[in-house]
C-alpha cells in the first residue's frame, strides 16, 4: 500500500539524517594556503565576528560586521602576503547561544582575533574561555560597566566608552542644557537597559532632579500603557528610556498617543532607523538619542566622511550605529597582523601594547583593563523622520 511505502521512505530518510548528523561536520577549517599566479605564497587570516546577525536587534550586529567588511576589503585591495577574511558567528546577541558559538571559533586556529562580542550579556558568557585561550577580543559595542571588573582578563578590549561614561554624558547634557525639574525614567529590565538606567538615575538624582517616577516595561509585550499612564500622571518634563530601539520607539509612540509631550531621551541602543519605524514617524519626532559613538555620514569632513562613502559603495547602505567602531576594531587587528603578529599570543601582546591609535571614531588608547580612555558622547535628534547629529554632549552642555 502506498501509505506504507511512504512511511518507510520517511523513516529511512530520518534515520539517514540522524546518522549523517552524528558522523558529519567534524572538519575544521585551518588556515588555507594557496599560491597566487605570481608565485608568492598567500596566507588567509580570519577575524571572527561574534554577535547578532539574526533575531531581534540584529541591526546592531550587522552594522559592526559591515564596518569590519569595509576594513577587510580595503586591506585586501592594498595587496600583500596576507588575505584577510571574516568568519561570522551568529549568536543572535543571546547569552544562551554564545557558548555554543565560542566552541566553534576558539578551536579554529585560523582565527587570530574576535571583533565583538557585540552585546554585554554574551561577552560575559564567553570571556573566561577567551581569556583561557588567549584569544584577543575588541568589542565595538559591549558597554556594560562591570565587564572588566567582574571578569578580569588580558584579552578584553573595547573601543567604545562604557555605560558609565555614557550616563555621565547624558546627565551632563540633561542637567546643563535641558534642565528639567522632573524626569521619568523607564527601563526594559535587560542587562544593558537597566545598567544604563541605573547610572542615569543616580547622576540625575545627585544633581537634584526629581527622579521618583520610575518604571520597567516588558520588552516582549507590546502594551506599555501602565508605564505610559504613570508617566502621564506624574506630569514630568522629560522621559528617559534605557533599552533598545524597537521598544524605545514603541514606547515613544504610545507616549505621544497618550498626549505626553515631554522630551524623550534614550541611549545608544535606541540609535537606529528602527526607532523611527517603531515610533511611527510623527510619533518619534523630536526624540533625543545619545551614543558614545559617532554615526559616520558622508558630509562629515575627513576620515569619517570618506569611510561613509566607502561603506555606501561596498555595503550599499549608510553606516549604522557602531559601524565606525567595527571598522576601527578590525583595522587595529589588521595593522597588528600586517606588522608580523601572526599568532594569537603575538597579536594579543600587540593590542595590549597599542599605545595610541587614530581611528575614525576617536583616538583609541586602551587602559590596563581593556577600556578605552574616555571618549565623547554624541547627541542625535530625530528630525523629519531622520536621525541627525546635534553634537558632543560636552560641547552642547557648555554652549
Amino acid at each position: 500500500m502506498p501509505r506504507n511505502g511512504l512511511r518507510r521512505i520517511v523513516l529511512v530518510l530520518m534515520a539517514a539524517t540522524l546518522v549523517l548528523a552524528a558522523c558529519g561536520s567534524d572538519s575544521n577549517d585551518t588556515g588555507t594556503t594557496d599560491t597566487t599566479a605570481g608565485g608568492g605564497k598567500k596566507t588567509t587570516v580570519n577575524l571572527a565576528f561574534v554577535g547578532p546577525l539574526t533575531g531581534p536587534n540584529a541591526n546592531l550586529g550587522i552594522n559592526i560586521r559591515d564596518g569590519m567588511q569595509v576594513a577587510v576589503e580595503e586591506a585586501n585591495m592594498k595587496g600583500g602576503d596576507i588575505t584577510f577574511a571574516i568568519k561570522e558567528f551568529d549568536t543572535q546577541g543571546d547569552p544562551a547561544q554564545a557558548p555554543g558559538q565560542k566552541d566553534k571559533y576558539i578551536p579554529d586556529e585560523s582565527i587570530l582575533a574576535v571583533v565583538g562580542p557585540t552585546f554585554s550579556g554574551e561577552t560575559r558568557a564567553v570571556l573566561p574561555d577567551l581569556n583561557e585561550a588567549k584569544l584577543v577580543m575588541i568589542s565595538a559595542s559591549a558597554t556594560n560597566v562591570a565587564l572588566p571588573t567582574d571578569i578580569p582578563s588580558d584579552v578584553f578590549h573595547r573601543v567604545i566608552p562604557d555605560d558609565g561614561v555614557q550616563a555621565a554624558g547624558i546627565a551632563d547634557y540633561v542637567t546643563k542644557k535641558l534642565k528639567p525639574k522632573k524626569i521619568a525614567l523607564v527601563h526594559d529590565n535587560t542587562d544593558y537597559g537597566k545598567g544604563l538606567w541605573e547610572g542615569v538615575v543616580k547622576l540625575l538624582g545627585d544633581a537634584g532632579i526629581d527622579t521618583s517616577t520610575q518604571d520597567a516595561i516588558d520588552p516582549k509585550s507590546q502594551d506599555y500603557s501602565v508605564a505610559v499612564n504613570k508617566v502621564k500622571a506624574a506630569k514630568v518634563d522629560m522621559v528617559f528610556y534605557g533599552g533598545y530601539y524597537n521598544e524605545a520607539g514603541r514606547f515613544k509612540k504610545q507616549l505621544a498617543d497618550a498626549g505626553v509631550k515631554s522630551t524623550f531621551i534614550s541611549g545608544d541602543g535606541s540609535l537606529d532607523p528602527g526607532f523611527v519605524v517603531s515610533s511611527g514617524a510623527p510619533g518619534g519626532e523630536g526624540a533625543l538619542l545619545t551614543c558614545p559613538c559617532r554615526l559616520a555620514t558622508p558630509d562629515i569632513a575627513g576620515a569619517p566622511g570618506d569611510f561613509a562613502k566607502k561603506y555606501a559603495e561596498i555595503v550599499k547602505k549608510e553606516p549604522g550605529t557602531y559601524s565606525s567602531e567595527g571598522y576601527d576594531a578590525a583595522n587595529i587587528l589588521i595593522k597588528g597582523i600586517n606588522e608580523g603578529n601572526t599568532t594569537r599570543e603575538k597579536l594579543l601582546a600587540y593590542v595590549e601594547g597599542l599605545g595610541s591609535y587614530e581611528g575614525i571614531s576617536k583616538t583609541i588608547e586602551f587602559e590596563k583593563n581593556g577600556n578605552v580612555k574616555a571618549g565623547d558622547v554624541f547627541v542625535y535628534e530625530v528630525k523629519g523622520g531622520k536621525i541627525t547629529e546635534l553634537g558632543k554632549t560636552s560641547e552642547l552642555a557648555a554652549g
Binding site: 516595561i217 516588558d218 500603557s225 499612564n229 514603541r250 514617524a281
Partner: protein, 299 residues
C-alpha cells in the same frame, strides 16, 4: 482593558477548539499574527500608506470594515487549512493528545519562521487609519477612540458568537459534538464539518482581533502572536475553558489584573501576578470561574 478585549477575542478561538476537540491549539497565536499581517496588507491594498491622514466617518467605517473582513476570512480559512493538514490525520488515527499538541507547536513555529523569512524580523508599521482622539476622561483614565472601538468590537463579536452557538443549527452541532462526539455522529451530525466550522469561527475571531490589534498597536512582526496567545489561553482557562462567556470574562479580567498588577507591583511583575492569580483561582474553582460548558445550553 483594551488588551483584555483583544485577549478575549483570541481566547474565544482557543476555547471553541478546546471545547470540541480537547486540543490546545498552539497555532492559534499564529492565526492571530497572520490576521494582523492580512490587515496590514489589506490597508496597503486599499492604497493607504503611512503618509495618508487618518480617515473619518463613513470612509473610516468602510475601510475598517473591509480590512476586518479580509483579515477574518484569511485567518478563518487558514485555521481550516491547518486543521485539514495537521490535525485531521491525527484525529483519524486516534493519536494521543500529546501528539496533537506537539503538532500544534510545530505548526506554530513553522508559520512564525515562514513569515520571518518572507517579511524579515523587523517590525512593520501600520499607517494610521483611525485617529486616536481622546473622547473624554473617566476616573482619571483617558477614553480614546481606538480603545472604544476595540472594546465595543470585541464584545459585539463575542456575543454574536455566543448567539450563533446557542441558537443556530450549526451551533447546536458544535455543542453536541463537544458533549459527546460519538452520539452526535449517530444523530447525523457531520463531525468533520463541525470541526471545520469550529476552526473557521475561531480563526475568524482571531482575524478580527488581528485587525483591532493592528489599529491599536500599529505594528506587526512574525513573533507578535506568541505572547498574546499565551495570555489569551490563560484567559480562556481562567474563565472556564470551553465556555464562551468564560473566555470573554477571562480576557477582560486578565487585562484588568495585568493592569492592576503592573501599577501596584511594577511592570516587571505583571506576568507573575497574572499566573499566580490563575493558580489561586484554579485551586478553588478547578474548572475556571464559569466552569466548562460549551455543551450545556444557557438556562
Amino acid at each position: 482593558m483594551t488588551a483584555g478585549a483583544i485577549y478575549a477575542l483570541i481566547a474565544l478561538g482557543y476555547t471553541l477548539v478546546y471545547g470540541v476537540l480537547r486540543l490546545i491549539n498552539f497555532a492559534h497565536s499564529e492565526i492571530f499574527m497572520i490576521g494582523i499581517f492580512a490587515s496590514l496588507f489589506a490597508i496597503d491594498g486599499l492604497g493607504i500608506d503611512v503618509t495618508d491622514s487618518p480617515k473619518t466617518g463613513l470612509t473610516l467605517a468602510l475601510t475598517l470594515g473591509a480590512v476586518m473582513v479580509v483579515a477574518m476570512l484569511t485567518s478563518g480559512f487558514l485555521a481550516v487549512a491547518i486543521e485539514r493538514i495537521a490535525y485531521r490525520p491525527l484525529r483519524r488515527r486516534g493519536a494521543p493528545r500529546l501528539a496533537a499538541l506537539i503538532t500544534a507547536i510545530g505548526v506554530s513555529l513553522f508559520l512564525q519562521e515562514l513569515f520571518a523569512a518572507r517579511y524579515g524580523r523587523e517590525f512593520l508599521g501600520f499607517p494610521r487609519v483611525l485617529e486616536k482622539r481622546k473622547l473624554f476622561t473617566f476616573q482619571g483614565a483617558d477614553v480614546r477612540s481606538d480603545k472604544v472601538l476595540v472594546i465595543v468590537a470585541a464584545v459585539v463579536l463575542a456575543l454574536a458568537l455566543e448567539r450563533f452557538v446557542a441558537r443556530s443549527r450549526l451551533g447546536r452541532g458544535i455543542r453536541a459534538t463537544a458533549q459527546d462526539a460519538e452520539t452526535a455522529a449517530l444523530m447525523g451530525v457531520n463531525i468533520d464539518r463541525v470541526v471545520m466550522l469550529t476552526f473557521f469561527l475561531g480563526g475568524v475571531l482571531a482575524g478580527a482581533a488581528g485587525t483591532l490589534y493592528g489599529v491599536f498597536f500599529e505594528s506587526a512582526r512574525y513573533d507578535i502572536g506568541f505572547l498574546p496567545g499565551i495570555k489569551a489561553f490563560t484567559a480562556a482557562v481562567l474563565g472556564g475553558i470551553g465556555n464562551i462567556r468564560g473566555a470573554l470574562l477571562g480576557g477582560i479580567l486578565l487585562g484588568l489584573l495585568e493592569k492592576w498588577g503592573a501599577t501596584v507591583l511594577g511592570g516587571e511583575w505583571t506576568d507573575v501576578f497574572a499566573f499566580t492569580v490563575l493558580v489561586v483561582v484554579l485551586m478553588f474553582r478547578p474548572t475556571g470561574l464559569l466552569g466548562e460548558s460549551l455543551g450545556r445550553s444557557r438556562a
